[in-house]
């Protein structure tokens, strides 16, 4: 399991109700359900991935988060997870609002557009950045709203969203983001993981 999922599983721990939005083939859900006894649901737009999840015994609904989240009652999950998907929505703000409504707490991870390789790519090559985390060209990328770790933190401040924990992954190593190291983390981390409410 990738490091990001390990971090998320550690935050969630055991016996919680969890909704994984954009759950893919259900790798994280599977771990949360079978290793940590969580009650997990998923939402995924791709049929073949939903079928994979169902085969694993995971309760996943085929659907688009921008339309389907309204059906879940307020605070019906302990955690709502959005792993590296926020940037792919047409209206990320609306989706995030729904998550904060449904989950008592929400875990959001974002690929960091402020990562130094991304910055250098644009600066020196003058073309849209291609990295391991961002492998698609500008015309076929699903990512419509890229942001940096700093952008996301600023956004939460603006919208009065409380950040309980800010973590980042730098070359597969996990660390806390603080006010003091923000500038540094925003350059050297590939991924930001936030626990918000």
């Amino acid at each position: 399991m990738k490091k990001e999922f390990e971090v998320i599983s550690q935050i969630i721990q055991n016996n919680k109700r969890v909704l994984d939005i954009g759950c893919g083939d259900g790798t994280l859900m599977e771990y949360l359900k079978f290793n940590q006894q969580n009650d997990v649901r998923g939402l995924e737009p791709q049929k073949d991935l939903v079928q994979k999840c169902i085969a694993k015994g995971l309760s996943v609904i085929e659907g688009d988060a921008e339309k389907e989240l309204v059906q879940f009652p307020d605070k019906s999950f302990d955690y709502a997870i959005l792993s590296q998907t926020l940037q792919a929505f047409l209206f990320p703000e609306k989706v995030l609002k729904q998550l904060l409504r449904i989950g008592k707490q929400t875990i959001v991870s974002i690929p960091n557009f402020g990562y130094w390789k991304v910055r250098l790519h644009l600066l020196f090559k003058g073309t849209m950045p291609l990295t391991k985390n961002l492998p698609n060209k500008w015309y076929n990328t699903p990512n419509l709203h890229m942001c940096t770790i700093q952008d996301f933190v600023n956004f939460c401040k603006e919208k009065n969203i409380k950040i309980d924990r800010s973590l980042c992954l730098t070359n597969e190593k996990i660390s806390e983001i603080t006010n003091g190291n923000m500038l540094y983390k925003n350059i050297f981390s590939q991924l930001g993981i936030f626990l918000i409410k």
Binding site: R17, D39, R41, K47, V50, Q51, C53, I54, A55, K56, G57, L58, S59, V60, I61, E62, G63, Q71, F72, P73, S76
Partner: protein, 393 residues
């Protein structure tokens, strides 16, 4: 053609005789129907496949649709045709009878041995015909519970069915929230739409317009409204297919000679196909049953049973749901299946949902649609595994 009519008559006589030899449970308790009438000492006909395991944890209750019966798979002993869900049920199939014990019960109002308009009314010693009480999906489901009691099955591994079978799944899950580990409603709806009521009414009117229907007393004349029933079936059959599948299969292809006959014979292959579907159906189905069962479907409104809140129907459910719809099904479209999913989510129930891509319309659930059968098989398998793991702990 008196010869042909005579042949039909003979065939029906043998059918009736054979119906008497099928598995039946006579329910000696009384059951209060939704219409207010009380029935007792009534038969429910059923069939089972596979073997019930020692702790009775591998039973799957399959609910049949409008034109189905208890003979889910193998060769139907009455009609000598393949069982209606032979694609999904059998050894090594999605609902694997080597592993699971499959039960199916002919619905109340049906014509394959269960209490229906073709049965004899003990008060009059005549067939019920249209004096049979109007039954509902809820009545059908409540009648089936007696067989589970008789078989000593406390909790089913799963309940499943498509179309009207799916409605029974929903009703069962709502009535008995702790009697099934999992529930798989397929291509159905929690309340029958205006369009579907309209289509059923078309079928009923076709039967009633047949003079031999005789207000449902056709058994007195030894005739039956075969033409009316065939037309009803033809109309219904169109609704089970998609425009695309009809176009691909038949297009404007002509029958026989390859040129128009300038008459009202079946020029087009689609006409002859539908006529064939119609005549095939009257050999095995009772016209009055068709009226009663379509009525039960029309009356089905689970939302209304719970004062307009579908979610309350499932608020106590312990079952894990897997709702399945088909992309080209316009009779029970994905949106209606999704309403069930939304209601389940609103009450925090455990639900998965997938729409299967298929061009084959509503009938997809009866046909060989590999992705559907795979999903069905894998969901059941995962439920089965989970239950057995639970028991080990």
């Amino acid at each position: 053609m008196p010869g042909l009519a005579g042949l039909f008559f003979c065939l029906k006589q043998t059918m009736n005789k054979e119906v008497k030899n099928i598995k039946k449970l006579i329910v000696n308790q009384s059951l209060g129907l939704d219409c207010g009438k009380i029935i007792k000492n009534f038969p429910i006909a059923y069939e089972t496949y596979g073997t019930l395991n020692k702790n009775k944890s591998n039973a799957i209750l399959v609910f049949h649709a409008l034109s189905g019966d208890q003979f889910v798979t193998n060769i139907n002993p009455i009609t000598k045709q393949e069982g209606w869900w032979i694609t999904a049920v059998g050894p090594g199939k999605a609902i694997d009878t080597n592993k699971y014990f499959v039960i199916c019960i002919n619905v109340l109002g049906g014509c394959m041995g269960s209490f229906g308009p073709k049965e004899i009314n003990p008060d009059t010693n005549e067939l019920f015909g249209t004096t049979f009480p109007v039954i509902t999906i809820r009545d059908m489901v409540r009648a089936q519970i007696y067989l589970l009691e008789y078989l000593g099955i406390d909790k089913l591994l799963s309940i499943t069915g498509g179309s009207m079978g799916g409605m029974q799944v929903l009703q069962f899950a709502s009535l008995y929230p702790n009697k099934a580990h999992s529930a798989i409603p397929i291509a159905c709806s929690a309340s029958h739409s205006a369009q579907n009521i309209a289509l059923n009414e078309l079928g009923r009117q076709a039967i009633m317009a047949d003079p031999t229907w005789n207000n449902g007393n056709y058994f007195k004349t030894n005739l039956s409204p075969d033409k009316g029933l065939a037309v009803a079936r033809m109309a219904a059959h169109i609704t089970y297919l998609s425009k695309k599948s009809l176009q691909e299969k038949f297009g404007r292809k002509l029958q026989d000679t390859g040129s128009l006959k300038f008459s009202f014979d079946a020029d087009f292959q689609i006409e002859s196909y539908l006529r064939h579907q119609g005549t095939k159906f009257v050999d095995r189905f009772d016209a009055n049953s068709y009226l009663y069962i379509t009525r039960a479907m029309d009356y089905f409104d689970l939302e209304k049973q719970f004062n307009g809140n579908l979610s309350s129907a499932f608020k106590n459910t312990k079952s894990k749901f897997c709702v399945i719809s088909f992309s080209s099904d316009w009779l029970y479209p994905t949106i209606e299946n999704k309403e069930i999913v939304m209601a389940l989510n609103a009450c925090g129930a455990n639900v998965g949902f997938v729409e299967i891509n298929s061009d084959k319309g509503h009938d997809s659930f009866l046909l060989n649609v590999p992705k559907f059968l795979k999903t069905l098989s894998e969901f059941l398998n995962s439920t089965y595994k989970e239950i057995n793991n639970e028991k080990r702990i």
